[in-house]
């Protein structure tokens, strides 16, 4: 039995808005094995980022429902109080590189001090030790040592993104959540950042959750894939079987919408739009856009398991 690091069960996160309750994360189950990377792919507005925030308990004020179970190393983190969670979990065991992190660095602090800060707060390091730790992380992500005394505006986009990644690593957490870590970066910089992440995964033995809408680049880090649609995970599986042959009609469509550079294969697109999460359709949520819809789709499909993969679609019912 592989070493299970994270186990999420029936996670729900709903928000109150003036228009009603938005069911951003609606019953999500997935697992992550230690020293692996799972990629969560889906269109914008499908709840990927909300799920990351739910796992790290970084919640806004308008939360309506926040329920389910999140086990890290078998410890139920949902049972912890907020203070307990802050002291024992956030940045100690799990950290995050938020979306557009490179633009959220503090402009009036030296980047070295910013990177060291989580280690001072969460690992009780003295400032000197924490700075040393920061320098070590800079080496891992490929930022020159003397950059610790620079300010964010003195760095290029790629360097700032590396600094943001260093900040998520400095407290040596077991799990790092990366939310669209390269979406604003150039192609070559993007490839360099993925090289860095692969290296870190090898050297520091960390596990990653990578959130992205870009399937092609997601394969740069993926050991496992989870496809999210309208607040739910519709398919999970290991990267080799997924990229080889996705199971869910949505995943199949999504894969065929990626223009291939090396193989000539005319890309397709998905007609229609994802449903509103204010009142998602009953039954299967993809049924209105699905080419293989049939009567049973009016009923919500459970997650069927197929050779170690799971797929939430009646086509794979046994």
């Amino acid at each position: 039995m592989a070493d299970k690091l994270l186990d999420v069960k029936d996670l729900r996160l709903f928000f109150r808005t003036s228009k009603g309750v938005v069911r951003a994360v609606d019953g999500v189950d997935f697992e992550l094995t230690r020293n692996r990377a799972v990629v969560i792919v889906g269109e914008s507005g499908c709840g990927k980022t909300s799920m990351a925030k739910a796992i790290l308990r970084l919640l806004p004020k308008n939360v309506d429902t926040y329920s389910g179970k999140i086990f890290l190393n078998g410890v139920d983190t949902m049972a912890m109080t907020d203070e307990e969670y802050r002291v024992k979990m956030r940045w100690v065991k799990m950290s995050m590189v938020p979306q557009a992190a490179m633009n959220s660095l503090n402009p009036v602090l030296k980047v070295g001090d910013q990177v060291a800060e989580p280690a001072i707060i969460h690992n009780n390091m003295s400032k000197e030790v924490a700075i040393q730790q920061a320098v070590k992380m800079f080496q891992h992500v490929g930022v020159p040592n003397d950059f610790i005394n620079r300010y964010a505006f003195e760095l290029s986009g790629g360097m700032r993104q590396r600094v943001a990644i260093a900040m998520s690593l400095v407290s040596l957490p077991e799990l790092v959540i990366l939310d669209e870590p390269t979406s604003a970066l150039d192609v070559l910089t993007q490839a360099n950042i993925f090289n860095v992440l692969k290296q870190i995964k090898k050297e520091l033995g960390m596990s990653f959750i990578l959130i992205t809408h870009d399937i092609a680049t997601s394969s740069e880090l993926a050991d496992d894939v989870a496809v999210m649609y309208a607040g739910q995970i519709v398919e999970t599986g290991d990267a080799f079987s997924f990229f080889d042959a996705p199971l869910h009609p949505y995943s199949i469509k999504l894969m065929s919408s990626v223009p291939r550079l090396r193989a000539r294969q005319e890309p397709d697109f998905i007609t229609g739009q994802p449903p509103s999460l204010l009142n998602p359709p009953t039954g299967c949520r993809f049924k209105d856009r699905c080419p293989s819809r049939f009567e049973r789709c009016e009923e919500e499909p459970p997650a069927f398991s197929v050779n170690g993969r799971t797929v939430k679609c009646w086509l794979h019912a046994k």
Binding site: F243, K253, V258, E266, D268, F269, T271
Partner: protein, 348 residues
């Protein structure tokens, strides 16, 4: 007649026209050794230097042709586009549209030119005025261009919306941009670009802000409009994989210059310039094997355009640098393969 004009100008201007395999007799737009520099001012007066945003770019665009300009941010592709839209004045060199020099157009002539060039912006939400309805947004260019008949305008708006597959158009006319999805917003931008029946569409990263699942849809739509209305399209992007399906000729830009010009199939199967090779290496296809291999891409960042490197601008990052040559002399264009022009000393 006008076409002859541009032909003459080109042969006057440059002996080594960049274009490889086409004749000049159906040129719509011709860019000749274009340089666009921006002044850097010190304390409000006195010039302390220049940003060499576009530094010697030449190409011809034919009627009904799609070309792609590929490069990373800061390589000058947006400046090039804005010069073509006559939003920037060239520092040196010139741009001809149907034989007319852009920098000489004024007033009415300029208005007429702009009505023949449609512009599709990168960020559809930023490109649409948030306080105007779809009807207002689409009405405006026609009012400016003197279409006074309200009924005709209405008809054109309906047609344009039908063409971008926003039907029934009546459902969208009174909506504000924020009520539409990203894909729908981009369709409105496309409809607006098409309204005045242009001959050329300039699309600046038209799908980079959109979800992967709608990108192909928008590009396909652009393609079908191009075919139906016989448009020429300049597609500006950083994403080689979409270029393969939506354009034929491609210009790879680096630090303000075109470093390779060829057909996209040549870039895919046999990229010549080390930078084109790096772009190919860095672009992923969905493949689980990617996770286990490291990408062989040059480190570093594109150079500052204020003081670009001497010689070849890629030499500080280039794995094949020839000492004593690449950092000294600017490489001219070589043609090692028919149809493939490359500015690199490796092919001397």
């Amino acid at each position: 007649m006008t076409e002859n004009n541009s032909q003459v100008r080109i042969s006057e201007n440059k002996g080594d026209d960049l274009d490889v395999n086409r004749t000049n007799n159906n040129v719509l737009l011709s860019v000749n050794d274009l340089k666009v520099w921006f002044e850097l001012r010190r304390l409000g007066f006195g010039v302390s230097g220049y940003v060499h945003a576009v530094d010697g770019v030449s190409f011809d665009l034919h009627y009904q042709e799609t070309i792609a300009i590929v490069g990373e941010s800061g390589c000058g592709k947006t400046t090039l586009m804005k010069s073509i839209l006559a939003l920037y004045q060239p520092t040196e060199g010139d741009i001809f549209f149907e034989g007319q020099q852009l920098s000489e157009l004024k007033g009415e002539g300029m208005r007429k030119y702009r009505s023949q060039v449609g512009y599709v912006q990168q960020d559809p939400y930023g490109a649409l005025a948030p306080f105007m309805t779809v009807r207002g947004i689409l009405d405006e260019p026609m009012i400016i261009n003197g279409i006074r008949n309200r009924k005709e305008r209405q008809e054109r708006i309906f047609n344009a919306l039908e063409e971008v597959k926003m039907s029934p158009p009546g459902d969208f006319l009174d909506k504000f941009p924020h009520m539409l999805s990203g894909g729908q917003q981009q369709r409105i931008v496309l409809a607006r670009a098409m309204l005045l029946e242009p001959k050329l569409i300039v699309a600046d990263e038209p799908v980079s802000m959109l979800d992967a699942s709608v990108r192909v849809e928008i590009l396909r739509l652009m393609q079908s409009l191009q075919q139906r209305h016989h448009l020429a399209v300049i597609y500006i992007t950083h994403d080689l994989s979409t270029v393969r399906y939506f354009s034929e000729r491609v210009f790879v830009m680096y630090a303000g210059q075109v470093i390779e010009q060829t057909l996209i199939e040549n870039i895919v199967h046999n990229p010549l310039h080390p930078y084109s090779q790096a772009l190919m290496e860095a672009t992923s296809d969905p493949d689980a094997n990617n996770a286990t291999k490291f990408r062989d891409v040059p480190p570093g960042e594109p150079p500052s355009l204020v003081t670009p490197p001497e010689g070849c601008r890629f030499h500080p990052r280039c794995p094949h640098k020839i000492d004593g040559l690449c950092e000294v002399e600017v490489p001219p264009y070589f043609t090692p393969e028919p149809d493939q022009k490359v500015a690199c000393w490796l092919y001397r």
